[in-house]
Amino acid sequence: MVKKILLFLVVLPWLLWAFAPKKELYYLLEQRLARQDIVLSGEALSETPVGLSIDHATLYAKGVRVAAIEHISLWSLLLYTRGSVEQVRLDTSLARMLPPAVRKATATHSVLAPTTIALRIDDPQLAATGTIDLRTRTLRLVFAKAPSAEMLTRKMKQTKEGWVYEQRF
């Protein structure tokens, strides 16, 4: 009987996640972000048992069109969670300050390292790996080569690993 109850308790969280109204939860998240003037607009949503896909979204921050994002994918197996954005094209008003496009950026979280989110940017012009340390609230990205955007490079340090960008939040 104990074995069955334990099995039930292990399976229940997965089933809760599988049956979650993911679109509605996403809308709730959108409402919370909108309070901080961050809006994802014009997107098409599609649910999967383990996640959510968002296509053709346009990101606005404080009324400013920041970027067009072709595809966002969020999925979780509870012990391992992964979010990725693909084909991000920055708006021309920001393209002077930041790299104009990113092919793919991925963030992953695993229970094996619960206080760390691993980051990876796959782009021929802007390849980088990094982490977000939730304990020290630090973002650290290591770029293979210096990005073309002068604003970013001025905030980086050149080390043996590559060009390092660090930011506390």
């Binding site: 039930f8 089933l15 809760l16 979650a20 809308y27 709730l28 959108e30 949503l45 009324g63 021309t92």
Partner: protein, 293 residues
């Protein structure tokens, strides 16, 4: 009789089915007690309609019916003087037009070729090349060579700034000269902003916040401009005429109701020729106009 199917094997499936049903019931209860939104948030921006860069005052009906009054335009008298003491600090020349920046002491003046190009001490700009500019006043012709700060600082016995020449030099665009003319200069009543200065600021926005402090002004929870917290002395923003306490209400006639308006200005920095800031100073609205070159 032996049983083909053992009902005990169904138990795990029943347990999983029960858990799935429970999960669904939990979510139904959550949705019922905390109504989740059924639609997302969409951006409702100002759209694509932008105000004109210029404002036009439309004539009233009475003005249209009244016979036009002849207006006498005073012919501007050129100021007489000499170019002694003037330094040629910047040249921008194309096959069609040349623009130069002259400095005397701390005051700088921008003049260009053509009838409306302005004059300095009665001299008009005739032509310019990469290293020199030719000025004329009547039959007199003066050539100023581009002022080289390095040469001047290293050698106090440098050649005089102004020299008399009559030979026209070939026209060319000098990138170095354009760089040197970066900044804000006054041409008569008009302030001219160098495009290179705008580009410099758009590529390094951090520089903006070292020279000017702004904070949001909200009206009924909506953005209604930016108030100037401070302006660094000697910075381009001081030269633009901005003062502490001013509220920037509009850019090029477009009210600042979101961040999109200033960002649009940054995006169009390459193409705009005019810039106007509507500011509120001491409860009065004023318009600061600039040219971008």
């Amino acid at each position: 009789m032996s049983s083909v199917f053992n009902p005990k094997r169904l138990w795990p499936l029943l347990w999983i089915g029960a858990a799935a049903a429970l999960a669904k019931v939990i979510w139904v209860a959550v949705e019922w007690s905390l109504p989740l939104p059924t639609a997302g948030v969409e951006h409702t921006g100002s759209g694509v309609q932008h105000a004109l860069h210029y404002r036009y005052r439309l004539a009233s009906e009475a003005e249209l019916k009244a016979p036009p009054k002849p207006t006498k335009r005073p012919t501007p008298k050129p100021k007489q003087g000499s170019l002694a003491g003037y330094k040629l600090v910047g040249i921008y020349s194309t096959p069609k037009q040349a623009i130069v920046t002259l400095m005397k002491g701390t005051k700088s003046t921008v003049i260009s070729t053509g009838p409306k190009g302005g004059d300095v001490a009665g001299y008009r700009l005739k032509e310019a090349n990469a290293t020199a500019a030719v000025f004329v006043r009547g039959s007199e012709k003066v050539t100023l060579k581009l002022y080289d700060k390095q040469t001047s600082s290293s050698s106090k016995t440098a050649a005089p700034v102004a020299s008399m020449e009559s030979k026209p030099a070939p026209k060319a665009v000098s990138k170095e000269a354009v760089k040197q003319s970066a900044g804000i200069v006054e041409r008569g009543d008009t302030k001219v902003i160098s495009r290179t200065l705008i580009e410099e600021y758009t590529q390094n926005p951090d520089k903006i916040w070292k020279n000017i402090g702004l904070y949001e002004v909200k009206n009924g929870g909506k953005l209604d401009g930016f108030k100037v917290r401070f302006v660094r002395r000697g910075s381009p923003f001081e030269k633009l005429g901005l003062k502490r306490g001013d509220v920037i209400k509009a850019i090029n006639g477009e009210p600042i109701t979101d961040y999109a308006t200033p960002m649009r200005m940054l995006r169009d920095a390459d193409t705009i020729d005019d810039l106007s800031l509507t500011i509120e100073r001491n409860h009065e609205e004023q318009e600061l106009k600039y040219e971008v070159q």
